[in-house]
């Protein structure tokens, strides 16, 4: 790759070393034609973008400046969608032009490695949905709900601006560079670009981060199902349903995925409705009423079994079910918000925005809001997907912008909708649901009293309202159901019942929401355990070669047991934590996720520098610097803060001292055993924070060294080592964006004229 120090658009002549396959039409729109098309501004085009900018501006004005009693939810939709469109049309184009520099004359791995199985050219719009379903899960549904403690504006700004400048940039570039490397994983790219030290640190960090993420996702499920017979029954039923689907697909009617997904969906609905009936009976209520510790143990045992069972039996069918639900639910939620347009009474900045002792999560807006909302704004976990399946399915290089950047914008939109759903419920109910038991006292009376004592403007809640809401959604109680999922479910039920079914349907919608969140999380837990097990086996395999053989049962089982024990321990810690697991652990989830983002962006930074692109390096450096500052600051608070509510070690010291003084209860811990649990938990959490931050700093430093070295090499005229697969000529053509441009349509028509036997068939229908 030649350098362009003057940073002019890529006018790279056709000296890309690619000799087109003779006898075929062009495999890319001519650069000059495309440029001319992009730069031509017709009056209609100008009017369209002016209208989008204007509408977005008005929406932001309504959200950020106007301080009325209420704000309509539709402004959230306009502000986000208009900003996404502008970011996609303008900013991602800049990234494409100056950093990625895709070349459609070049074949993608799906073409030159095509095997009909893993490497398959996939229609861009289908792949968009596929990629979106793989990246979006419970994360964007949970983080914004918890962050709503600060009011709606900080979260809204971070989700929308963060995705345009950080999250989508990471997803896009990791996808692009992985594609250029034949679909290599983030870990492999880190080792190549950052060397042994950086690569190893990245690998260990990824493994630990995975454990934390799985544990905290599991904690969200446990909190949602604790003491909820209806939820336990209907979510529990997903296991036999998935097993049935697995057997159906394997033996009865192989390959009938759509059919079995529909059957599964119907059974799932029956399980939700049946759950209400079962929970209504005396034996059902007694049998499925489980406390959180029991559910956590159930989940740990389940996690182990699910990870060693063959994929076809449980994981694959539930994956179909989860994807099926995901697309359906998100479309439904978007429709409902647009149709119902709820009025939001939550203030832009709440009383907790300027404090660091909020009941839902502790810490000040900076940096803790930015780690509480990870998924939806900047999620490092996506780098694992963008360097996994998706790069092997891309048809043309230019499509990475739609899929990588566009897919992440879509996830951000999901996060905005989750935020809207959470803030559409009464603020008093929000705090009663999300504060730890130690504060609310657990009953409707004490919870109402505590909420009213907070002195929040416009909040005056009665015990009756809390009791009635619980009754409406078919739960025994909604007090202290932290974790985000139940709040989102109440919000969704609140919106959906205005759309379909009325109050009578609220309980159904609530459990429907709990069900799909649990479904996403169980899939993530199961898949995460498997991936982590393979990583662990490969790492141990460096010392004990036998472990590298993934089909060696004892090794596989041992590695699975180690990984499940690791996340299980963190999960139990969270469940038994007297401080309320979400309050202490959720920041760790965000920190872990964004440290992974910092690692991914470091790898991208080194790659971009090696390609000789320095003038536009800031496009990668900006989100990297932000992620690094946020996560390292947050980690330092968690490690060094003297405030017990924020710092793990400060909390540890406070409880240790209380124990040494012979106290039998301290703060929120009512027994000596609980106090000992706090001492143990905070020590582990503190050291985890230390390990994370040290590993990430190592990765970032090695990336900076690699970047500096690349810079020196370019200055001295020495070629940097390239790890891209050699360029091969493409033999197909497909448009880049959602809608083909005029030039693309012309070229498509030319391809259509080609005799069928000379043309590689499109793999998916249009």
């Amino acid at each position: 790759m030649g350098t362009m120090p003057d940073g002019r658009p890529n006018t790279a002549p056709l000296d890309d070393g690619i000799t087109p396959v003779p006898g075929l039409p062009a495999t890319a729109v001519d650069d000059a034609v495309r440029e001319a098309e992009e730069r031509k501004w017709t009056p209609a085009k100008i009017a369209l973008w002016a209208a989008i900018a204007l509408l977005g501006g008005v929406a932001w004005f309504m959200l950020a400046i106007i301080r009325g009693e209420t704000v309509n939810a539709i402004w959230f939709v306009f502000a986000s969608v208009c900003t996404y469109l502008i970011g996609y049309r303008f900013y991602s184009k800049v990234i494409e032009r100056y950093i990625a520099k895709p070349n459609d004359r070049r074949a993608t791995p799906a073409e030159y490695k095509a095997d009909g199985k893993d490497y398959v050219r996939t229609d861009r719009n289908v792949l968009f949905g596929h990629h979106f379903a793989a990246i979006a899960g419970a994360g964007p549904l949970v983080g914004p709900v918890i962050a709503a403690q600060m009011g709606y504006l900080p979260g809204t700004i971070w989700i929308i601006i963060g995705v345009v400048l950080a999250g989508a940039v990471q997803d896009y570039l990791v996808l692009f560079f992985s594609m250029r490397r034949g679909g290599r994983s983030l870990g492999q790219m880190a080792r190549e670009e950052l060397g042994v030290i950086g690569g190893t640190a990245a690998l260990i960090a990824t493994l630990l981060i995975m454990v934390i993420i799985v544990a905290i996702l599991a904690l969200v499920v446990v909190n949602a199902l604790g003491e909820s017979p209806w939820g336990v029954f209907s979510v529990g039923m997903t296991i036999p349903i998935a097993l049935f689907m697995g057997v159906y697909l394997r033996y009865l009617r192989p390959g009938k995925v759509m059919e079995v997904s529909l059957i599964g969906f119907v059974l799932l609905m029956a399980a939700i409705i049946g759950g209400g009936a079962v929970a209504g009976t005396e034996w059902g209520a007694a049998f499925f009423h489980l406390d959180k510790v029991t559910i956590a143990w159930g989940l740990i045992i389940y996690g182990f079994i699910a990870a060693i069972l063959p994929v076809w039996l449980l994981l694959a069918p539930r994956d179909y079910l989860s994807t099926f639900m995901k697309i359906g639910v998100i479309v439904m939620l978007a429709l409902a918000i647009i149709v119902v347009r709820p009025e939001i009474t939550v203030p832009a900045f709440s009383e907790f925005a300027s404090r660091d002792n909020g009941p839902v999560f502790s810490g000040a807006v900076f940096p803790f809001l930015f780690v509480t909302i990870a998924c939806g704004a900047l999620s490092g976990f996506h780098a694992l997907i963008s360097s996994g399946t998706t790069p092997k399915l891309i048809e043309k290089e230019r499509q990475t912008r739609l899929i990588g950047y566009g897919g992440m914008l879509m996830e951000s939109f999901v996060a905005i909708m989750a935020l809207v759903a959470a803030i559409s419920i009464d603020r008093g109910i929000y705090f009663a649901m999300n504060a730890p038991l130690a504060l609310t006292g657990g009953t409707v009376e004490t919870a109402a009293q505590w909420v009213n004592s907070l002195g929040l403007s416009g909040v005056n809640i009665t015990p009756d309202v809390l009791a009635q809401t619980a009754k409406d959604v078919g739960e025994e109680s909604i007090v202290s159901r932290s974790g985000g999922a139940p709040t989102l479910a109440v919000g969704l039920a609140h919106i959906m019942q205005q759309f379909i079914g009325g109050t009578a349907m609220m309980a159904f919608w609530y459990h429907f929401a709990i069900m799909f969140e649990a479904l996403f999380i169980l899939t993530a837990v199961d898949a995460g355990t498997r991936v982590a097990r393979f990583m662990l086996q490969d790492s141990i395999g460096n010392f004990v070669p036998k472990f590298k053989d993934h089909s060696w049962r004892p090794g596989a089982w041992l590695a699975t047991a180690v990984m499940v024990a690791a996340w299980g321990a963190v999960l139990l810690m969270g469940v038994t934590d007297p401080l309320g697991g979400i309050n202490t652990l959720f920041p760790l989830f965000g920190i872990a996720n964004q440290l992974l983002a910092a690692i991914a962006l470091s790898v991208v930074l080194a790659i971009v520098a090696k390609r000789g692109t320095f003038k536009y390096l800031w496009i990668v450096a900006l989100p990297l610097a932000f992620a690094a500052v946020v996560t390292i600051t947050a980690s330092f608070y968690k490690i060094f803060s003297p405030v017990p509510a924020v710092g793990y070690f400060a909390n540890n010291a406070a409880f240790s001292k209380a124990l040494a003084d012979g106290k039998t209860s301290f703060g929120t811990a009512k027994t000596q055993a609980a106090m000992e649990a706090v001492v143990r938990n905070t020590m582990i959490q503190g050291w985890l924070s230390v390990i994370f931050v040290v590993l990430s700093i190592i990765v970032i430093i090695t990336a900076l060294i690699a970047t500096a070295k690349a810079f020196r090499n370019v200055k001295a005229g020495i070629a940097n080592v390239e790890y891209e697969d050699p360029a091969q000529p493409s033999r197909v053509f497909a448009p880049a964006g959602l809608f083909p441009t005029a030039a693309e349509r012309e070229l498509e028509a030319e391809w259509k004229k080609l005799p069928a036997d000379q043309r590689l068939e499109h793999s998916a229908g249009h």
Partner: protein
């Protein structure tokens, strides 16, 4: 009415693509296009192989 049916069919096709339900169809296309000597796997074998390969190469699902 025809437009409605076509629209629904298009949606169903898209959705099955997103789910990955058309994997076998794509495999057959690839098999034909690449001119393999042997016959392709039958549908049952293909899906067995499909999930067995997932066993050997796990992919993460996001949070």
């Amino acid at each position: 009415m025809n437009a409605l049916v076509a629209g629904f069919r298009g949606f169903a096709e898209y959705f099955s693509g997103v789910l990955g339900a058309d994997a076998y169809k794509k495999y057959l296309e690839h098999h034909r296009a690449s001119g393999h000597a042997g016959p392709p796997m039958c549908e049952r074998d293909f899906w067995r192989d499909h999930t067995d390969r997932q066993d050997a190469n796990p992919q993460g699902r996001c949070c």
